[in-house]
């Protein structure tokens, strides 16, 4: 099995081990050649093959059988063969199919990005921005579900779900017992618990990180802040159950949210436990390593936290005293009051939390 086979993706040849999928081979090349994936997750066994966003064209099957594959194939589930030639962004057929898939995914996806906590780190948002149309042709009402409460940690928005099954695999493979799953069929298929159970197994918080959309979000972070206004820093702590390597989303000294660290494919590097994720919301709980590396195309990079040099204040030296402050904004402003610490709240803030 040590023999390497050659596969050409968009005219770039790469040598991979036999049994590698086209998507994994493309990820070895990296960059634009990599097909997007909404349901496939390399760290979850059995995931993939559902969303069809990673469709590619195989223009040459292999060295032995050079015939092209008759239809577009899902690159996350198709293993490469020697001499295979794959077209991704060089194939107009693929781009057209992908635009169609995005349109299908968005048919029932609500346009509530302004409210959604996933906005800014949402894979569907990125995907539709790159491949989708700016308007919809769908004229009917979107599919809606009754709101369901699935416990104190995780907020479920079934309307936003694209049924990628990632959270189901996560619960199966990480937690002792899976409490939720996809109930009903067809248009009624919904992530739910049987019946009215709370998701509180340890490690269940990872379903928040694997969810490509905002269907499963962190209730302890709900509506607290927008992700691009919080500062991502890598941190670790001595955790008896998990590796303790996390990413903190901070504002000043307040820890608003704790997530696992994600790699450049948006996948979790190491799973983290519920204690780290939901209960350790103090900066003193963590050893902070430094600002996380965020892709500069992401809106989260707008704060430019990496490599920041704090400008030196020369004014006191030059004028021989501290400059007179004409107005301290914190005395006037009602926002970011010191006596209201949003990060300490267990759930979203309400009107009563601001009236003190």
């Amino acid at each position: 099995m040590s023999e390497q086979i050659k596969v050409t993706i968009d005219n770039i040849t790469v040598a991979v081990a036999p049994g590698t999928t086209i998507l994994q081979a493309a990820r070895q090349i990296g960059g634009e050649v990599t097909p997007p994936a909404m349901c496939y997750y390399s760290k979850l066994e059995g995931s993939g093959g559902k969303c069809r966003t990673c469709l590619v064209e195989v223009s040459k099957g292999s060295e032995k059988d050079p015939r092209p594959m008759p239809k577009l194939v899902a690159s996350c589930r198709t293993p490469v063969s020697d001499g295979m030639e794959v077209k991704n962004i060089t194939s107009p057929k693929v781009l057209d199919a992908r635009a169609g898939i995005v349109e299908m995914l968005l048919i029932n996806h609500p346009l509530d990005c302004p409210v959604c906590d996933q906005a800014g780190e949402c894979h569907l948002q990125d995907l539709s921005y790159e491949h989708g149309a700016s308007s919809t042709r769908y004229e009917f009402d979107r599919r809606t579900f009754e709101k369901e409460d699935i416990g104190p940690y995780i907020q479920l928005h079934m309307n936003r779900c694209i049924l990628c099954y990632r959270c189901v695999y996560t619960a199966d493979q990480l937690t002792g017992k899976r409490e939720h799953g996809v109930l009903d069929r067809g248009d009624h298929a919904a992530i739910s618990t049987c019946i009215g159970k709370a998701l509180d197994n340890d490690f269940i918080g990872n379903v928040i990180d694997v969810c490509p959309v905002g269907a499963l979000t962190d209730k302890t972070f709900r509506f607290k802040n927008r992700v691009w206004f919080t500062k991502p820093v890598d941190a670790h702590r001595d955790c008896p159950t998990c590796s303790g390597k996390t990413r903190l989303w901070m504002r000043g000294d307040e820890v608003y949210r704790v997530t696992a660290r994600k790699d450049k494919w948006g996948e979790v590097e190491e799973w983290i436990c519920n204690t780290c994720r939901f209960d350790k919301k103090q900066a003193s709980d963590w050893t902070i390593e430094g600002p996380s590396k965020i892709d500069r195309h992401s809106v989260i990079a707008q704060g430019h936290y990496e490599g920041v040099l704090k400008p030196q204040n020369f004014l006191p030296e030059v004028i021989g005293r501290n400059p007179k402050l004409l107005m301290n904004i914190h005395d006037v402003s009602g926002v970011n009051k010191n006596d209201i610490e949003l990060s300490k709240l267990n759930g979203p803030a309400h009107a009563a939390d601001f009236e003190q």
Partner: protein
């Protein structure tokens, strides 16, 4: 040296003629221009009694919009603050509870919303960024004031009056 333009004119240093040295004809010519302006339409108006119409693209003081039922449209999505080049806008969001449906249009709303008018450059990017048609730049200018702190406009200052309450 090669000239960059052909507009150069040599300075005329000839001595003035007798008529020019008298100055009187030139002064009278100037006075005629002054008197002529008395009969022309004035270029100025008597502000504040009279006011000029604003251009349709004028960008003045911000307002926060409500929908037809008087509910606040803003959902505190933060796009105005993100797009603001002067970093004048700050906000804090809260979740709408049961019984507040008549106050806020969406599940999430801005509990605090502030625009620092000292920083604002009236570029209108917040209006362009707003996905909910909640913020608009109106046809008024920011009021002059004596203190700096009166230029920190909070949500109550910016919200338009509730159409249902005035009736």
């Amino acid at each position: 040296m090669q000239e960059l333009t052909n507009k150069r004119v040599a300075v005329d240093r000839k001595p003035m003629t007798f008529m020019e040295r008298l100055y009187i004809p030139t002064i009278i010519k100037g006075l005629f221009i002054t008197v002529g302006h008395i009969f022309k339409k004035p270029a100025t108006i008597s502000y504040p009694e009279q006011q000029r119409p604003f251009s349709p693209v004028f960008r003045g003081l911000h307002i926060l919009n409500r929908d037809e039922q008087g509910r606040e449209k803003c959902t505190a999505c933060g796009l105005c603050a993100l797009s603001c080049p002067a970093e004048a806008i700050t906000m804090e969001a809260a979740e709408r509870t049961k019984g507040e449906e008549h106050l806020y249009k969406e599940e999430k709303y801005a509990a605090k919303y502030e625009i620092n008018m000292l920083r604002c450059i009236f570029c209108g990017l917040c209006e362009e960024a707003c996905p909910k048609d909640a913020i608009y730049l109106s046809e008024t200018v920011a009021q002059a004031n004596y203190t700096r702190k009166s230029f920190i406009y909070n949500k109550e200052d910016l919200l338009i009056p509730n159409p249902n309450e005035t009736h």
